[in-house]
């Protein structure tokens, strides 16, 4: 599989000290996978400008096609996402009129003024496109830097998901990348290690597909076998591998039970 690559970057000490469970990255990872991206890394970094800038310099060398950044767009002193992006790309932060208008409007509805702290959220890297935040005060933004599509999003999950689902998903769909096809099924009455040799063998034979056993998979009981592929023959290939695998399992491990997962 030669898919476009993506990285997810989550800023915020709360993720590193265990205060917040990172649901943003699993949401974004799942959506990007469905859109045909290979998500190569998820990195959580501290609210520390120097450490974060060093991280982005490394990231730029890896040249992913897409980067989704969450967290650190708010009004407080430790909301440093855009400062970090500015320092690592050399794009100066300047007040963006559209962003300032959106922030003003958001607080005006609550009878609040545009203070210095709120105004800070409208300082975007030069050339950034504003992505409207329909739920909170901090707008997101889009930047193209060295052929990398970078989306800067807030960390509050409802705000992040709103921008991601209303703006980013439709846009990435328009770009008509490979869609993914996947099948999952449950297996009972056996150990993952009993399945391993058969999975091993079939994975070698169908190296373009993703074939994996999960001993724990969300809240689904048993061992979950997950097969996915991309490209125009994906559905046919994935279904064929599923059928072969089930036949092999039943032939070799007569006591197991298989249950299809319908989604």
């Amino acid at each position: 599989m030669n898919l476009p690559t993506a990285e997810i970057v989550c800023l915020g000490n709360e993720l590193l000290i265990g205060v917040t469970i990172n649901t943003n990255s699993s949401y974004v990872g799942e959506e990007l996978t469905k859109l045909g991206f290979e998500v190569r890394r998820i990195t959580c970094i501290r609210d520390d400008v120097d450490l974060a800038v060093a991280f982005f310099h490394e990231l730029f060398e890896r040249k992913p096609n897409l980067v989704i950044i969450t967290g650190g767009l708010g009004p407080t002193y430790d909301d440093i996402q855009l400062e970090v992006i500015s320092k690592s790309t050399n794009l100066t932060l300047i007040e963006n009129e559209i962003a300032i208008e959106q922030i003003k409007e958001y607080y005006a509805k609550k009878n609040l003024h545009l203070t210095k702290e709120r105004r800070k959220m409208g300082k975007l890297p030069n050339g950034a496109e504003v992505l409207k935040n329909n739920i909170g005060g901090a707008p997101g933004c889009y930047i193209k830097y060295e052929d990398i599509d970078m989306y800067c999003l807030p960390g509050v999950p409802t705000e992040m998901k709103d921008i991601f689902s209303s703006i980013i998903i439709p846009r990435l769909k328009m770009e008509a990348r490979n869609q993914i096809y996947e099948i999952k099924f449950q297996i009972f009455n056996c150990f993952e290690s009993e399945l391993a040799p058969y999975l091993n063998e079939i994975s070698k034979k169908y190296s373009k597909l993703y074939i994996k056993s999960h001993p724990e998979y969300k809240d689904i009981k048993g061992i979950v076998i997950h097969i996915s592929g991309t490209g125009k023959n994906a559905k046919e290939e994935v279904t064929k591998v599923k059928d072969s695998l089930q036949e092999i399992f039943i032939a070799n491990l007569p006591s197991i039970k298989i249950k299809e997962i319908l989604e």
Copy 2:
């Protein structure tokens, strides 16, 4: 704060494609923070040997004091953690007698034999110390590499937590690092952006402490203010900052309500 540094590395495509929410990293992050470490990064990487080896080469250059790795110790072909550690450290994988005994014992209780796939879990980097897994088949291990303490743990949360809490926590406590002292309180009837200027100012004054507002904090309502510090005067300093902040907030934002969080 000049704390020992730690990184958490989580292996497994399931984390990158959004199948699994990464609760391991928040558990480990919280525990390491309590033990006085500064957790600098959490990275989730794919089950891809080359990409993962490249990642570890970068990590070794950052020279963290401690690395906790989870996931990829199991019997299947895509369980690559120890292969990756071996390739990135040049420590050969060899069958570890103690590990093989533990694996044999685990499967014997279930009337199962030591197959090739199960035996693979007992091949550890040369010189590694075995960490017994009381719950699952795959033992963890400890390696000292270039002054970095590396703990290799399974990805199944119950197994990871068992080894972490029974072996790693007591050991790190023994090393008598700085313990952390922290206070949190809730604020109602205001916006985070109204608190920002006061937090900004006090953070500059007490730069050794961690002072942060969280608009969403676990399941606690309102805005949570979190103050923490380390060292022998931590309790005194953190309490002093809490009192000052509450006074400042009440003086400047008379309509707010403050509620202490007792833990």
